[in-house]
């Protein structure tokens, strides 16, 4: 290792660590297969592990998808959970009411979410800065309310307040199946981002983020590009929602349109590094593990003195909020900035960031 600069060393350690985590995540579930069990392979996973790993993969999809509109295009979308919910209810309704098979219904989730995003995006994306942020948040809240409250011939159209029950998808190992399905969606999201960043489309989005007026006069069709980015982001988020609905078997306003997801996916992308390919995914893994740890669902738990265990979820929210503040102020380009070989984590870096982010 002599002659290697410290940042490159860190870079390698980071990549090695990421690969190890990924390899474990992909391979460990296989030990639960009955074929592996009969060969006396030690069991590396259990039901809890599947649940948490699937949720993590789901957030990788959402954070990576948010990055396309929020990170690449620079439009702070605060209502992306609407697309998750639309995806969940599209697959949910097709299975529960129209009796479609799951794998036939699922592809329509991204289509429905993208179509909706294009429709609301046309007027919404004319707004800039915090106006767009607030308007998109409004849409996110409104869609959830609509889904719960729309009646058709006296009956709640989408299951109403009591939610929507889906028939269980019959497959040998459900936990394994849905984990790999969600992991596949995560891989697709990352691959899509990678492709976008190498295309004319991606450069156009970055140009819009950096200066929309300048982008327009070099020939970027800003309206079409913004709407396309929003729809693409929605499609991926909707895919995660569609998988979630069949995985969870029951959906309602609370679990298909959770307002806190809006903040969480943004925080994940910010923490990892907006505008990058792997940043949001890394942020999603780290932050979701932290959320699970703080709320006590992991085997390892945290117990603070003077804090009753039922107050931990509140404490978790406070810690997350503090993290958001610290990340935005001191590492505006995300933690991935330290591993790209561009910057090194140092006091000078933090000071420089503070100068950049303050008035």
């Amino acid at each position: 290792m002599i002659g290697m600069s410290a940042s490159r060393l860190w870079n390698r350690i980071f990549i090695g660590l990421a690969l190890a985590v990924l390899a474990y995540a992909v391979l460990a579930p296989l030990t639960s297969l009955s074929a592996a069990q009969s060969l006396n392979v030690p069991l590396l996973t259990d039901r809890l592990w599947f649940r948490i790993a699937t949720i993590i993969a789901m957030f990788v999809v959402m954070a990576t998808a948010w990055n396309i509109i929020g990170g690449l295009t620079g439009y702070a979308a605060f209502g992306n959970v609407a697309f998750f919910g639309i995806g969940a209810y599209t697959t949910g309704m097709l299975i529960a009411k129209a009796k479609w098979p799951f794998l036939l219904a699922l592809p329509l989730s991204p289509v429905a979410a993208a179509a909706f995003a294009a429709l609301v995006g046309l007027p919404l994306l004319r707004l800039r800065g915090h106006y767009f942020a607030v308007a998109s948040l409004g849409v996110g809240v409104a869609v959830g309310e609509l889904v719960q409250n729309i009646d058709y011939q006296g009956q709640p159209m989408f299951g109403g307040a009591s939610g929507l029950f889906l028939p269980i998808f019959s497959i040998g190992d459900r936990g394994l199946f849905f984990f790999y399905l969600m992991l596949g969606a995560a891989a697709i999201s990352i691959a899509v981002t990678w492709l976008v960043l190498r295309s004319r489309f991606g450069y156009g989005l970055i140009a819009i983020r950096e200066n929309e007026e300048a982008a327009a006069v070099i020939g970027v069709n800003t309206t079409a590009y913004k709407v396309a980015a929003y729809a693409l982001s929605a499609a991926l988020t909707g895919l995660a929602g569609g998988i979630f609905s069949q995985w969870n078997v029951f959906i309602n306003q609370e679990n298909a349109f959770p307002i806190e997801y809006n903040v969480q996916m943004i925080l994940m992308a910010l923490l990892g590094g907006t505008g990058t390919v792997f940043g949001p995914a890394a942020g999603a893994v780290v932050l979701q593990l932290l959320i699970q740890f703080l709320s006590g669902t992991l085997p390892v738990t945290l117990s603070l003195p003077f804090v009753p265990s039922d107050a931990m979820p509140v404490i978790a929210q406070i810690i997350l909020g503090l993290m958001l503040v610290i990340v935005v102020i001191f590492a505006p380009r995300g933690v991935i900035d330290f591993f790209g070989g561009r910057s090194r984590l140092s006091l000078a870096y933090l000071r420089r960031s503070l100068r950049e982010t303050s008035i």
Binding site: E210, V217, G219
Partner: protein, 250 residues
Amino acid sequence: MEAAQLELENVTKRFGGVAAVDGVTFSVAKGEILGIIGPNGAGKTTLLNCISGVYRLDGGDIRWQGASISGLAPHKVARLGVGRTFQVVKPFGSMTVRENAAIGSLFGSEQARLAPKAAFKQADSVLELVGLRSKADLPVSALTVPDRKRLEVARAVATRPKLLLLDEVMAGLNHVEIDEALDMVRAVHKTGVTVVLIEHVMRVIVGLCQRAVVLNLGRVLADGEPEVVLRDERVVEAYLGERYAKRLKD
């Protein structure tokens, strides 16, 4: 001289009750270097914004190669081959100098759009033309003000325009830098690009332009050879005020 490439006919743009551009008519021939001058608030930048589609006209018509382009969105005007720079430079801040230039080639003129790889290749020759080749790998934040103005021109040139609209690319530069900038505009013009430039520096107008249009209060005050136009009584008056102009005459 060839037929007019760009024709402005009674172009009018109002903001509230004020007509910032008020019935402006002139045309630009292919291959020309035309200077637009006038005191502050004369409507020069507004006129440029009208041509490039940033503003919608309140009256009149703009024709590009014979067809009307008034009402077209900025990206459509750009795709027809009209490039422009901004008076206050608008670089893509997170990108390197090369990326800024390459992105012009990725978009711009419709017939000649390049794929990413080819665009990056062409970026270097554009940077060579404006004298930024040695700084291609620097982030924009490392550039000085004159270099940022060059970059603004480079990005516009990379779109392969037939007509380039330059908005005060030499304002704030010192004498040496202006000479370099003059060479840059001449080099761009030599590649077959028609140039329309807004400028306050008279040396630039006289040294570069074949023709000058003087705007005052949104109207065309004079149109002709730079030396003649600058000696025009009304032009001197517009710049210096009535009393001073009178004194100058006496």
